[in-house]
Amino acid sequence: MNAFGSVVYDSPITKAWLPVWYPQGAWPEIACSRLDGLPCEPSLLAGLILSPGEREYWESMRAVEKRRQEWLLGRCVAKEAVRSLLERNLDLHLEPAEIEIVPDPYGRPHVRAALRPCISIAHSHGTAVALAALDPESRVGIDLESLAHRREDFEAIAFSPDERSLLAALSPDLRQEWALRMWCAKEAVGKALGRGLSAGLLAFHIIRFEASSGAIEVELRDGALIQFPELRGTPLIVYTVRESNFVFSAIIHQQGAVRMRPSRQEILDYLLHKMGELTQDWDYPDPVGPESRLFTELGFESLDAVVLCTAIQEHYQTPMPFAELLAEIGQQQRDLSIDELANFVDTHLGGGGGTGSITRRVQ
């Protein structure tokens, strides 16, 4: 339950996209909320959560009732996401009405509250979701669509022949779902960049998708590159998930990959966590720590090392020359500590003890 008596919960999509970027599954600088239907009568809710300016806008809206209600639903989740974000990170307690959300000249929602977090809102078929990020410089986008009542031939207009060929190999059921995921991915990117799909549907080109994680890689083309020349050659990764009749998509894009790179401590935490998972049935006299040595102390064999290395590369979505590392320590006939392994990973993620984590940067 929250401030206005409705159930607002963290969307399951947070689980789907966080682990890939953030080792411990915790990302305190973002918040996501979702609401399925209005918790009370619209005008009552409007009185509770909207700022005077927002209320004026809502009352003057000429749209059909469905549209007005979904707009209100969208404001609900957006304010809730911002509220919980500021509470968690800054111990700042704001009423929903104190968090004003106004569109910028391009129509992208902007938060008028402490630190001006970045926000994205989506609503469809009576459900609304919002994604807020503490870093005002980040770009966040979220979208959802219902799988019900969709014309199957919408692919012809929404996707290029290359994009359609990605779908061609799928069974009809999966094809419909992934077509919608791809559509949601384009929408999320459009929202994250703040200009929607105004540059044309084909200016947001889907390069590939990964069925296991729901990740979709989008590349900007043509008109979108005129709007955002700095994103030329930058793959934009959108995470998608299907939940019953809905497909959700979300992207959190930080300017420049360096800021998304985990800090050395985060790498070490991840390695210790992963080691704990891999060796949970093995009995050690001492707890596993940064100084623990893989082969002599932890009883690793080469196959275990390969499993670990594969997991690390998958986790960070970055190939690293583990074979060379293992060959080198074999030649030198020495062991490898978890700490050394963390250094190796840090180096190959483009680091070297830099500031890394956005957590530290924001705080």
Partner: protein
């Protein structure tokens, strides 16, 4: 089909919108915004597809302003979310029939998007594009039927024609406009500066 009146296009388009959004066509007026009728992004795709099928046209996949930005480059027609005078001039030239005051004063890109979502804006665009779709075969006056993709075929003599897409028509218009209205102006300014 050429020479369709605005009223005829409006009636047919309103039926398409009403069916797609499952609403009564009487709710739809010339200055209604499609999103205010509850249309979401995929509904707009559906409306686009049905409109293209029924009117035998191909709607552009972005606004004239975006197409023009590809020729003019960034910052000329729009700056920091607002139309520049140059941008307003281009839009007025392309849409001389635009609702009075649509481009007066400070025009945010958001306002422009709302304008492009109005039923009336769609009706005029459909009417304009329909001019390029022949009602009958140029060789034998037989009825034309849609063929594959951008093509139409005469049902009587079998002659095929390729329809022009809205995007292509817009791009061509922008290039002509750029050469006539903008480049000459820039060149004149440059040569005047050179003389001085």
């Amino acid at each position: 089909m050429p020479n369709m009146t605005e009223a005829v296009v409006f009636d047919q388009f309103a039926r398409i919108v009403a069916k797609s959004l499952r609403i009564d066509a009487s709710q739809i007026a010339f200055d209604t915004q499609l999103t205010d009728l509850g249309a979401e992004s995929l509904d707009l795709i559906e409306i686009t597809m049905e409109t293209e099928t029924q009117f035998h046209i191909f709607l552009p996949d972005k606004s004239i302003l975006e197409t023009a930005a590809e020729v003019f480059g960034p910052g000329i027609l729009e700056k920091e979310g607002y139309l520049t005078e140059e941008g307003k001039r281009l839009l007025l030239c392309r849409m001389p029939e635009a609702d009075g005051g649509a481009f007066d004063g400070e025009v945010a890109i958001q306002d422009l998007q709302h304008y492009f979502l109005k039923v009336g804006t769609w009706v005029r665009m459909i009417q304009g594009l329909a001019q390029y779709t022949p009602a009958e075969c140029r060789s034998c006056s037989g009825p034309m039927a849609t063929s594959m993709g951008f093509r139409m075929k005469c049902e009587k003599c079998g002659q095929e024609i390729t329809l022009r897409s809205g995007e292509e028509i817009n791009r061509e218009w922008v290039r002509e406009y750029y050469d006539r209205e903008y480049r000459s102006q820039v060149e004149a300014t440059v040569s005047a500066a050179a003389v001085q």
